[in-house]
């Protein structure tokens, strides 16, 4: 069957963007017109003016998201987009005559070595199954500082090479200094080995990509020499806790319309999400060297969220950047609890707010500036909503204290105060519709595609899951609003968060953890509830959904962190995803490899709690990989002093940096190993 292909013209791109912009602006003005007509009756007070400004910003943001989803819905109703990278005809251009070699690169930083290795093994096996495995090499780019984790990564890497007979194809390196975090890690790779590869696929520690998907990405890059980056749309998978399963369902069920919508108006000027994307190495090296921003963190220093900036640099240099909504087989993982989700938000918030400066960069186009603003707005919208709620409450209170005057001037008849209930209710309904309609669009698409809906448990289970997910997101939204508002203010007060590793393991929150994290939310909910109930009862009723989320945050957070509840929901067919209904091969491989890696770690000849320094194999491998560095006399004395300290006070008294120094020196490493055995217990901790 021949497929008709279409060239993408400049006019087409402009027309789509103008349509999108008009829809967003028109919706904003419509909502704004209604609220303004209500305010204008008795002249606008300063509070009302503030409310109008806040509402404009918020409705602009909401309608951007709404129209992206709606356009995506429209595209999917029509069976996809002919102007997507998967359907575009191959373009002519100068191509590198050599065979395309691709490096799969995974930057890691103190991540769980078992999960990292299992994921990489699954990806490697999946590529080999395509029959094109020879085109790919794999790099584990470790920035890990934790000594035990470092040695475990090395052992896992070596076992992977041995098991797959992939010596010289799978590589591992640990940077001595993790300059510029993840972007510096990748830059180091490009700088040292970039010349060997035409493409690199950037993976996160929790990424999982099927071999077929990787091969398709390479083929698309080969067919389009003007494309520098193709971003796949990773879906969350393999989750157990209720929280992550609900998010996994939401991303899976609603994600398509958003991604197709993004493709609709962004086309060849799309973005980069930092992982599960293929990048043409040569333009990346040429244009994406990230500078240090003047000033100190959080706004200056190293660029945290490098991906958006790198995509911008590629676009400004004339390269195409695409998103590929049709590519399946690309997965990632989500934080398992609400608290972990908020912690991740804290890092992302700092990274996005740092882009405030990028908005003022001369070298970026209006579109890039818009992307930066959208990233900023995804966090700044929380404090804006927060202020909006406070001001609305205050305005409601003022209104409740105002006595209507029925007779004034020479009027013989009473002048009844005009009611704007209809306008205000319409504004509220418009806003709520824009927030909830995308969920409805996805349900319609499901009904139209019965086979797809089967993967979500059928119509009734899918509809019930959508309903419950909506309730859950409504309850968690106020908590996240307060978290994100705090983050934004902390960053504006110039408090940097650093770049701590992300927690990806399932763990049920204890009551104490939940109280520590959500105590203040509960308190805010109770106080706000009491004040509104006491002084503005009408407003209290409207505020109940927000208050409920805050007051119930402790039990909600605890309950949703539970894997037992998450699995029970799965057995009931709730929040089911097609990947859970019928496990893809790549996820099967991940599960098999998790068992293999865990079993390989259990050495029957060594105690379970023994550190890697005790293991002669791990020690020998670590020694073999250590670079040759001459050690000055003073350093040698310092290292010996550390060993004495370790022997006398125990390994727990040494900082991770000290322990890293010890195992980074061949002589000290061997001494530690011998001590671990001669001590009869685990000396290296």
């Amino acid at each position: 069957m021949s497929k008709k292909t279409f060239e993408l013209s400049r006019g087409r791109i402009t027309a789509r963007r103008i349509l999108f912009l008009l829809l967003v602006v028109f919706t904003t003005f419509l909502a704004l017109g209604m609220i303004t007509s209500a305010f204008l009756q008795n002249g606008i007070t300063p509070t009302e003016l503030m409310l109008l400004i806040l509402y404009t910003l918020l409705i602009l943001w909401v309608s951007t998201s709404f129209w992206t989803a709606t356009l995506g819905f429209w595209v999917l109703l029509r069976g996809g987009d002919r102007y997507s990278i998967g359907r575009m005809p191959p373009t002519r251009g100068e191509t590198d005559p050599g065979p395309p070699r691709t490096a799969l690169v995974m930057p890691i930083y103190n991540e769980d070595p078992t999960r990292v290795t299992a994921g990489l093994r699954a990806i490697w096996q999946s590529i080999q199954e395509t029959g094109r495995g020879e085109e790919f090499d794999l790099f584990i780019l470790s920035d890990t500082r934790d000594p035990e984790c470092w040695m475990q990564e090395e052992v896992n890497w070596y076992r992977m090479c041995a098991d797959f007979n992939a010596h010289g194809r799978i590589f591992y390196r640990n940077r001595e200094r993790n300059v510029a975090r993840k972007s510096g890690n990748l830059e180091d790779f490009v700088h040292r080995w970039g010349g060997r590869y035409r493409y690199m696929v950037v993976l996160d520690a929790d990424s999982l990509m099927a071999g077929d998907t990787l091969v398709k990405m390479v083929d698309r890059m080969e067919n389009h020499p003007g494309v520098a980056l193709i971003q796949s749309s990773p879906l969350p998978a393999n989750h157990k806790s209720l929280f992550s399963r609900i998010l996994q369902f939401a991303s899976n069920f609603y994600g398509d319309i958003f991604v197709w919508g993004i493709n609709y108006w962004q086309l060849s000027s799309s973005g980069y999400w930092g992982h599960n994307a293929i990048i043409r190495v040569e333009p990346f090296a040429k244009h994406c060297g990230l500078p240090k921003l003047p000033g100190r963190e959080p706004f200056g220093g190293e660029i945290f969220s490098h991906d958006t900036v790198e995509a911008g640099m590629l676009r400004e240099a004339g390269w195409e950047v695409w998103i590929a909504p049709d590519l399946k087989g690309s997965f990632e993982e989500l934080p398992p609890t609400l608290i972990d989700y908020a912690k991740r938000d804290r890092r992302w918030c700092q990274g996005n707010l740092q882009h405030l400066r990028m908005v003022f960069a001369k070298d970026f186009s209006g579109l890039s500036r818009l992307y930066f603003l959208m990233g900023i707005m995804s966090y700044v919208s929380s404090p804006l909503w927060f202020f909006f709620l406070i001001l609305t409450g205050f305005e409601a209170y003022v209104m409740s204290q105002t006595m209507p005057v029925y007779f004034f001037g020479d009027n013989l008849f009473p002048v009844w105060p005009e009611s704007f209930v209809v306008e205000m209710t319409t504004v509220l309904l418009v806003t709520l519709s824009m927030l909830f309609l995308p969920k409805f669009w996805s349900l319609i698409l499901g009904i139209l595609n019965w086979r797809r809906l089967k993967g979500y448990g059928g119509f009734f289970r899918a509809a019930l899951s959508v309903f419950l997910e909506s309730i859950f997101s409504m309850l968690t939204a106020p908590v996240l609003m307060i978290y994100q508002s705090k983050f934004v203010f902390a960053i504006l007060m110039r408090r940097s968060v650093g770049w701590p590793p992300q927690n990806r393991d399932d763990h049920r929150l204890s009551l104490w953890e939940a109280i520590q994290a959500h105590g203040e939310h509960t308190l805010i909910g109770l106080v706000a509830g009491w004040i509104s109930y006491r002084y503005v009862q009408g407003f209290f009723l409207w505020l109940i959904p927000v208050l409920a989320g805050l007051v119930l945050s402790i039990p909600l957070s605890m309950l949703s962190s539970s894997t037992a509840v998450g699995q029970a929901a799965r057995r009931l067919g709730l929040f089911l995803t097609p990947e859970e209904y019928e496990e893809p091969r790549i996820i099967q491989l991940l599960k098999q490899n998790l068992e293999i890696v865990e079993a390989a770690d259990a050495n029957p000849l060594l105690p379970a709690e023994a550190s890697k320094v005790t293991d002669p194999g791990a020690c020998a491998l670590h020694l073999a990989l250590l670079p040759m560095r001459p050690v000055k006399k003073r350093q040698r004395h310092q290292l010996r002093a550390l060993i004495y300290q370790l022997v006398e006070e125990g390994p727990e008294q040494l900082s991770p940096a000290d322990r890293r120094s010890l195992i980074s020196d061949p002589e000290s490493l061997v001494k530690l190993h011998t001590l671990a055995w001669s001590d009869g217990k685990d000396a290296a901790g």
Binding site: C161, G617, L623
Partner: protein, 162 residues
Amino acid sequence: MTPSTTQSPAPTRPSGAAEAIDAAPILARVAQYWRVQGLSDDALIASLSDDCLQQARRLVGRASAEQLLRRSLEEAQRRFDHALANAMGLPPSNDPHPLAAARAALMLTPGFSADCLFAHDEATRQLKDRLQACLPRNTPPESPIDMKPALLRFWLFQSTAR
């Protein structure tokens, strides 16, 4: 392992405590160490462990059990490395990396037994070729590309440095 390991780094106890040292726990620990290094022949392990203890006794004389054990383990490391270097045809060197790489390959690759290191037969000769193929190669040869930081110019803010 490396020659430098013969220097004991840890604080030592007075040697007067060494008069009635029970050799059994030391031999057991050294034997366990041989097993973890990949040896499985019990007779060979017993013989090697005994040799290591004797050599340690010769080196430290009247010492504590802890010192004796440490010396025995160091002797086990030395003997293992010596046998491995012979099998691999590695010349004596101050660079610990080649030997460490061979040791890692021997201990971490499934299917290898270290017994043959001490057998001095055909299996020892075959080991070299098999180990060569499994030596850890953690990075490929470098093929550098220049990646200079881009210059970013800002309105209202200071530009980035080249």
